[in-house]
Amino acid sequence: MMVLREKKQFTVFCLMYTFLIFWTSYSIELVIKTQSLWFANTSFFIALFIGIFLSLLYAWLIVKRNSKTIATLKCIGWTNKDINSLISGFILFTTFMGFFIIVEVLFHYVAFLGYFYATNPTVFGTPYYIENLALVNLLPVFVTFTIFLFFQILAILLANRKILKVRPIIALKKVGA
């Protein structure tokens, strides 16, 4: 609930994750089909590098932007463990949403093309196969999602370290003091 209400931050990172999951999945798809191995490998590693950077940045930003809220929660009796669970939820939820968006988009893409081919057989003339319509198959998407979940574990570890450093006394500091 809280993560959804951080609309701007959530939307920006969710869309970036969606794009990165697609990019990485597409690179894996290219590697599998070996259309251009050098290009596919380069693209895959660039996407991974950006993915890990983005995950760590997101974890750092969440703690940084919410440090006063975290300090307040500590003041009112939340333990570090409680706050870690909350922030882990923030991070994982955003990644899951990115994953669901990309799966939805890919399904609709195939459905749309399938419908288009089926309703216009005379335009293309040749028979079509569903697996050839898919931009990215499900296997690369799931492999990418697993890789991104691993990145999120690193991000959660970073967030946990930063949460420990937030002192409850920050909550009592006056604005501008």
Partner: protein
């Protein structure tokens, strides 16, 4: 050391120093203070006299360099963070000058947030939050976000959050510092009401002399030391 049954908090020879820009600032100097259960204590003094530091060490938010803080019979001066969190959740309510409400949560959610990590059921937490908001006359604003509330309403929401778990002690750091006189009276009347009806010990840090009439004990501080208790 035997502790008086009525003693809620006792500070014994408490010292606290800060290092700021290379200089050592003695925030608390051999502070000794006993607060009894049901007291309404006002801690007064000029800016930088150590009154907020005293509040912080009494609640376990900050640890003293030396001395003891006996809170409800337990020395918390050297307690672990997990123990202090549990103590704050069970026995202490906080009221902040800047309200410290979570901007993305409604009034009722802000109040209920204190109990979210507990084993209580959602319905029970909601009922308690509604009761707390009713106690501070803010029930009609329960679905409003902090940005939609006035300063006085935000502070009453903060007060509801401080009482939802029926704490033994409420600590308020300049609770009326950002309020107009009318809201200040409302908040202080509510604190007095909580003090009387719930027998909650109240400790208010303020530099405003006009609030003296609410307290039954006034602690005056200067340069980190208590100079007068009346």
């Amino acid at each position: 050391m035997p502790v008086d049954k009525d003693t809620m908090i006792e500070a014994i020879d408490v010292n606290k120093e800060y290092r700021r820009a290379g200089a050592i600032i003695r925030a608390l100097a051999d502070v000794n203070l006993t607060i009894k259960s049901g007291d309404f204590v006002l801690v007064q003094g000029p800016t930088g006299c150590g009154k907020s530091t005293l509040l912080n060490v009494l609640s376990g938010i900050d640890l003293p360099d030396s001395g003891k803080i006996i809170f409800d019979g337990e020395n918390i001066a050297r307690a672990q963070e997990a123990r202090l969190s549990k103590l704050r959740r069970q026995k202490i309510g906080f009221v902040f000058q800047d309200f410290n409400l979570i901007p993305t949560l409604t009034a009722i959610e802000n109040v209920a947030a204190l109990l979210w990590p507990t084993v209580l059921r959602d319905k029970e937490i909601e009922n308690r939050a509604i009761a707390a908001l009713r106690d501070v006359n803010l029930l009609e604003r329960k679905d409003h976000y902090p940005v939609q509330m006035s300063g006085g309403e935000k502070q009453r929401c903060g007060l509801a959050r401080a009482i939802i778990h029926r704490p033994r002690v409420i600590l308020a750091d300049e609770p009326t510092g950002n309020l107009d006189p009318e809201s200040e009276k409302q908040v202080m009347d509510l604190l007095k009401h909580i003090n009387k009806d719930m027998e909650t010990t109240i400790i208010v840090v303020t530099h405003r002399g006009s609030l003296a009439s609410y307290a039954n004990k006034i602690v005056k501080m200067e340069k980190g030391a208590i100079i007068k208790i009346q």
